[in-house]
Subunit: 389 residues, 2 copies
């Protein structure tokens, strides 16, 4: 039998996957489970996007697009950046990819050599460290806490920077915390990174899902950054697998060559469908959904804090709350299992997002409607009462 790569052995499974499998088992046995662990919107893809996708398929003429993607879509995205953030991004710097996942891989392929180190936050999106390892780089997790709203801080990055550090990866709004990095802190981060000739990789996949605060794009700070985004979350297109990467000026040719080799192209009909993402009708629908997410977040925040869980700040973005349950447990993984078995509520334990104080935390996703949220809260309340006895 051939030997597996060491890389393959280093990937820890997502605990939430086991939890999900167990939840499905319980459901198959007739149990009702409230799913608060799902990281994708519960809304279907907006109708105009679906219609455009179906129309694109109609003739069956579904060929490869160019590696960078359809120019009209790159232009639509450029216009979107101008309108939304007031920045000028030439369409030539925008590359359509198979999801933000593909964009992360492309970005690291362009920016990272074997042995180079990337600073990431702990807790943070767990795939990031595996993307870094995939290209032979070394992820270096830096602990972040409530006091910094779970985002890397300029001083922290400055102190951690080593001769092998090549860049910093931030995700705002964050997964798992939903917290948004303020513009000033983003600028301070970039100053440190730029002075060291490093790269800043900004995952902005949850932009648009922001509540009572405005998400700053890294492109507002500088055009010499790498920005990852996607149609998955805000635009409700997870299964379509379409994201994008924006590269610094001058990197276009290398990005195009690498994209050709890695992906050939992003899905054609998903690209055609996404052209309908910027119509007034779609936008109105997305705004309506944003308000629903906002209301759910407010409700869940009140309810959870009311039950004695601590949450650093009211909901800022994405559809996650990261709740400190240390009043009840210091082993959130076991706690999450028990919550599923006994109360039929599925949530994600902190250990899926890193190690730093992971045992204290649970991630709650508000990707179910308010009545299910309320049911989940009722069950959690009863469960906590039992635990506290």
């Amino acid at each position: 039998m051939p030997r597996q790569a060491r890389r393959a052995g280093r990937i820890s499974p997502f605990h939430v996957m086991e939890l999900l499998a167990r939840a499905r088992e319980l459901e198959a046995q007739g149990r009702d489970i409230v799913h608060l662990e799902i990281g994708e919107p519960d809304f279907p893809t907006p109708a105009p996007i679906v219609a455009a996708g179906r129309a694109a398929l109609a003739g069956g003429n579904v060929r490869y697009t160019t590696a960078a993607g359809l120019m009209p879509l790159r232009e639509a995205l450029a216009a979107y950046y101008h309108e939304r953030y007031g920045v000028a991004v030439s369409p030539g710097r925008i590359f359509l990819t198979p999801g933000a996942s593909g964009a992360c891989l492309l970005a690291l392929g362009l920016a990272l050599d074997v042995g180079d180190e990337v600073l990431v936050s702990d807790p943070g999106y767990p795939c990031n460290r595996h993307f870094v390892q995939m290209v032979g780089g070394r992820p270096r997790p830096l602990a972040v806490e409530e006091d910094s709203d779970f985002h890397l801080d300029a001083a922290q990055v400055e102190a951690a920077w080593s001769p092998t550090t090549r860049g910093v990866w931030i995700t705002s709004p964050s997964n798992p915390t939903g917290s948004v990095i303020p513009a000033g802190r983003l600028a301070a981060l970039w100053e440190i990174v730029e002075a060291r000739g490093g790269f800043l990789l900004a995952d902005e996949i949850y932009h648009g899902l922001e509540y009572g605060c405005r998400c700053t794009s890294a492109l507002e700070i500088s055009d010499r950054v790498l920005v990852v985004n996607s149609f998955s979350k805000y635009f409700g297109m997870t299964g379509w697998r379409l994201g994008w990467l924006i590269v610094p000026p001058g990197w276009e040719a290398a990005a195009e060559r690498l994209a050709q080799n890695l992906f050939i192209a992003a899905p054609t009909h998903s690209q055609r469908a996404a052209l309908a993402a910027f119509t007034p009708e779609t936008r109105a629908e997305l705004e309506r959904r944003r308000q629903i997410f906002a209301a759910r977040g407010r409700y869940l925040y009140q309810a959870l804090t009311g039950l004695g869980l601590r949450i650093a700040s009211s909901p800022q973005g994405a559809f996650y709350l990261y709740a400190d349950c240390s009043a009840f447990t210091d082993d959130s993984e076991t706690f999450a299992s028990a919550l599923l078995e006994k109360a039929g509520v599925a949530v994600t334990p902190g250990c899926d997002f890193g190690r730093h104080r992971a045992g204290r935390y649970l991630r709650f996703a508000y990707t179910v409607d308010e009545s299910r949220l309320a049911e989940g809260v009722r069950r959690l309340a009863a469960f906590l009462e039992d635990v506290s006895k």
Copy 2:
């Protein structure tokens, strides 16, 4: 400005892309161009697949699938392997990926550590060496020629194996040559590789497009190999971005974890559409197309050899002929440019596939109908007459 990875600088552009851009320019000026450079079928996706894809989109409920893909599709593929090759592959070993491209990346992520060497053929599919470099490995091209039908040979691999060699990558039918590796040679290769604890990665993306010979799957030799395949070529689904990887027994858990991290999942509606790839109606259509490709290949082979180009063997597979044009030039890249400019025929120069004797060769793709092929041949004949004067 952040510094780019060395990897990014090492990627040579596809010359055919420049040629294609120039062809589009000429077309915009009103010139008629015969395209014999396109590496995808000219047929639309079969109607039953399109219908299934459109139906899957209808409700807009296009969520992530599990990382490995929809179980019914994995089961359909397992049944296909049993029927077609007589091998038992458990569905759990089959992973749906974003194209064969995604499958190649997943395979290398599982099998290759930083610094490990992979033996590849020169000429060969150019992306392969960049996939290897992407994960920090080192592609080692071995020259192959007409005498070995452009496939790596067991003795050659045995001689080339070094302490850092980890595996061998073969593609049969080959891109760019279309040649098929015989079962006996495949078995001999595996024997060498297995004895050294290495991996065999078999790209079988052109299986099904085979003419007068039968393609052997590496799985018929052993189940401890990595097999890449795709719905792109034989099934006519290039733009849908759906492929698959089959892993050795015991590798399932690692493959699932890595796929979760790298891709999340392959496109959902493409997976649902592909469920219709195995119906009698689709199969009949694919067989009809195969016969059309076969007839085109025969025609083009006769025509090109009649004009004094040398081709190692009559068409065996894929939709490519790799023609030795050394009777006319030893610089096929310049020759291809002139052929485009003067005669309006686009073909791919050998330098896109490696270095070994690349200047002698041109790849002709028979992905246009016979009347266009005939027009291309007429123009080529006139061009060669001019050149020979």
